[in-house]
């Protein structure tokens, strides 16, 4: 293959499909992190939660013979890990960054230990048929984008569905309002009689479940095997895309696709024989991570109460959580103060 191959659609169409596949685990983890961070919880432990989900999902899929049960099990493992993170940071007031790092060590170690106990050696890890592609009628026949976007496995379509669902959940529902208030102005939420703790725990459980699902997507749906260390930094990339995507579901999805495309591109550039050294090409997605985090840091915009424990023991409940009982303008202020 020569560099002139890049002028052909035969180069770009499969690349787009690969970008979508690579982006899918990132998408799940990133969407989960959107909800967690909007509630004020910076979950640095995504990597470990993905590893737990990857192992639990694979073990369950092997045990039951049902990949969908495996994916569900992966999400459940992530949810439990998320609740542990929530217990430490929300209820015990632990620092979120330190707890996230500790969660990574704990979860990666737990996944590794469980793997050794369950399978012993990778020679004993059975082969699980990866999910078959499901071509959506009509859509998959669209020129250029048809096969890459609509000739994928079912789990990819679940990812597509989650993008508007998470957006609706966060931006257009009462629970989403509480989530945004928990991350933007928890005092106002508390004053309105809503438990900040409960909302944050729900948000991190959701985020953990999606991180676990992201890991299980990799092991169950894409590779069909669990390998220790297979998450390979995707959890940290998910953190970066959340920032780059401005904590908005649609933008985070676009950022995931950008990362997926960058990774797919570097793999293909190695084949066309460019003058760029392979080592530099392999590092392309990570260089992109550094770049977008730098850009994101410059823009600011983190939820105001992120990484700040809300240590009030119990939310003071008014007689009823009626707007008339809330301090003047509390929830209205929440609307204005939290990041649009």
């Amino acid at each position: 293959m020569t560099p002139s191959a890049m002028l052909s659609l035969l180069f770009w169409v499969p690349l787009l499909g690969a970008g979508v596949r690579i982006a899918t685990p990132l998408l799940f983890a990133g969407l989960g992190e959107v909800v967690a961070e909007r509630a004020g919880l910076l979950n640095v432990g995504i990597e470990g939660m993905m590893a737990l989900g990857a192992f639990a999902g694979f073990a369950l899929a092997v045990g039951t013979g049902d990949p969908w049960l495996g994916l569900l099990g992966g999400a459940l493992a992530g949810l439990l890990a998320g609740l542990l993170f929530g217990w430490l940071t929300v209820l015990r007031g632990a620092d979120q960054i330190v707890t996230g790092v500790a969660m990574n060590i704990l979860a990666l170690g737990t996944a590794s230990l469980a793997y050794q106990m369950r399978f012993g050696s990778s020679r004993d890890v059975p082969e699980l048929p990866a999910l078959a592609a499901l071509r959506l009628p009509w859509l998959s026949t669209l020129p250029v984008i048809g096969r890459p976007f609509f000739g994928q496995t079912s789990i990819v379509y679940l990812g597509y569905l989650l993008i508007p669902l998470v957006w609706l959940l966060v931006e257009r529902t009462r629970w989403g309002l509480h989530v945004r208030a928990a991350g933007g102005n928890p005092e106002a939420l508390d004053s309105a009689g809503v438990s900040v703790w409960r909302v944050r725990l729900q948000a991190i459980a959701f985020g953990g479940a999606l991180a676990g699902l992201g890991g299980a997507t990799l092991s169950v749906a894409q590779v069909g095997a669990y390998v220790d260390g297979m998450i390979g930094g995707r959890g940290f990339i998910a953190l970066a895309v959340t920032v780059f995507g401005g904590w908005r579901a649609g933008r985070v999805a676009a950022a995931c696709l950008l990362f997926g495309m960058a990774d797919a591109l570097q793999l293909r550039l190695q084949l066309v024989g460019t003058a760029v050294p392979a080592g530099l090409l392999v590092g392309l997605p990570y260089l992109l991570t550094v770049a977008v985090v730098t850009i994101g840091a410059g823009r600011g915009g983190y939820p105001a109460a992120i990484n700040q424990p809300y240590l009030r023991r119990r939310a003071r409940r008014p007689a009823r959580a009626h707007p008339a009982n809330a301090p003047a303008g509390a929830l209205q202020a929440t609307h204005q103060e939290i990041k649009p």
Binding site: P14, G224, V227, G229
Partner: protein, 350 residues
């Protein structure tokens, strides 16, 4: 009463004397040696790190046969800087030999070797043996050449590929050896090479293999460790062949792994560890062993091999014979793409 006391003490004194005698006899006939093993990954990875660990266990058994009790400890999944810390820790605890079974740990071995002259450091695939640091090198380019030859013979589209972990030393020798072998079988063949910078990222390995398949390859060689599972997933989905390396992985994905280019890493590790413990390693000598020295064999997946033309198997066996006998010498190519510069006629006549 005194007499009774004496009779009580006599058996105790006898037991004590017997115990001391047994202890002194054991010290005279056996010695304890502490040996540490620091691989790239995990000792149960079913590939590179496990092969080295098997060699450590073989060395322990071999040394037990000559009255040496080898205490074995290991540290897994370390970065190069962590590996140096671990190596220094083992040396400071009095370990006689520290085995660093990962090419990226070369600096760790040389640095620790300078600080702890009484400990022997064995490092796989490093530039040189110096002082108390010895390098041992499985010349994987030999069996990779055979894998490339086989791949070219079975490819229906004259395009094959290799997915490798890192672009460094013996991994590059492997990848380039594969490409050279494919070119030797079919000078017009197209070969692809991708580095994924990981031993474990099976997802990335799958996409790397898929990229090569999308580019036309129909046989993919794995020069990675556990990440190879991703390669098998890609070739299985495409109905293509994969060739494994290091250990026999034919049963891991029996519908797609055509053969395994195995290396008797355990034999090499056992040899150098036993030599180190018995102080028989030659100063400054790198221990590089290829197929001629028993490192490297091809294990065919019989179920898939039945589908191949009989001539392919016989050609491959003939090639293996030439390399084992030393009639053919496969160069170690350290530069990606360097296989193109090799004069095929200089290797050996077909």
């Amino acid at each position: 009463m005194k007499h009774q006391r004496c009779t009580r003490r006599t058996p105790r004194a006898g037991l004590l004397a017997a115990g001391l005698l047994a202890l002194s006899w054991r010290q005279a006939t056996a010695r304890d040696v502490q040996v540490a093993y620091i691989p790239c990954g995990q000792v149960n990875d079913g590939s590179w790190s496990e092969a080295g660990y098997d060699g450590m266990k073989q060395a322990k058994a071999a040394l037990a046969g000559v009255g040496i009790d080898m205490k074995l400890e290991y540290s897994e999944n370390l970065s190069p800087s962590q590996a140096e810390t671990a190596a220094r820790d083992y040396a400071s605890r009095g370990f006689q030999t520290v085995v660093l079974h990962c090419g990226t740990f070369a600096d760790a071995a040389y640095n620790a070797g300078k600080s702890f002259p009484k400990t022997n450091f064995l490092i796989v695939v490093a530039p040189r043996s110096v002082g108390n640091v010895w390098t041992y090198i499985p010349a994987m380019q030999d069996i990779s050449f055979v894998a490339g030859y086989l791949a070219a013979k079975v490819s229906k589209v004259s395009a094959v590929g290799v997915v490798a972990s890192f672009n460094f030393s013996n991994v590059t020798w492997q990848a380039e050896g594969f490409r050279l072998g494919a070119r030797y079988a079919n000078p017009a063949i197209q070969t692809f090479e991708t580095f994924i910078n990981s031993f474990d990222d099976a997802g990335k390995a799958k996409e790397a293999a898929q990229a090569e398949i999308d580019s036309g390859a129909d046989v993919i060689y794995s020069a990675t460790d556990q990440a190879s599972r991703g390669i098998y997933a890609a070739t299985a989905a495409a109905g293509d062949y994969a060739i494994a390396s290091y250990t026999d992985q034919n049963s891991l994905a029996p519908k797609t792994v055509l053969a395994s280019a195995t290396a008797d890493i355990p034999l090499l590790v056992r040899t150098v560890v036993v030599g180190s413990v018995e102080d028989k390693l030659e100063p400054g000598k790198p221990y590089s062993v290829g197929m001629a020295g028993g490192i490297g064999a091809l294990t065919l997946n019989e179920a898939l091999a039945k589908q191949l033309p009989a001539a392919v198997a016989s050609d491959v066996m003939a090639l293996i014979g030439k390399i084992r006998s030393g009639e053919m010498r496969i160069p170690a190519i350290s530069t990606p793409g360097g296989y193109k510069d090799v004069d095929l006629s200089a290797l050996a006549p077909h």
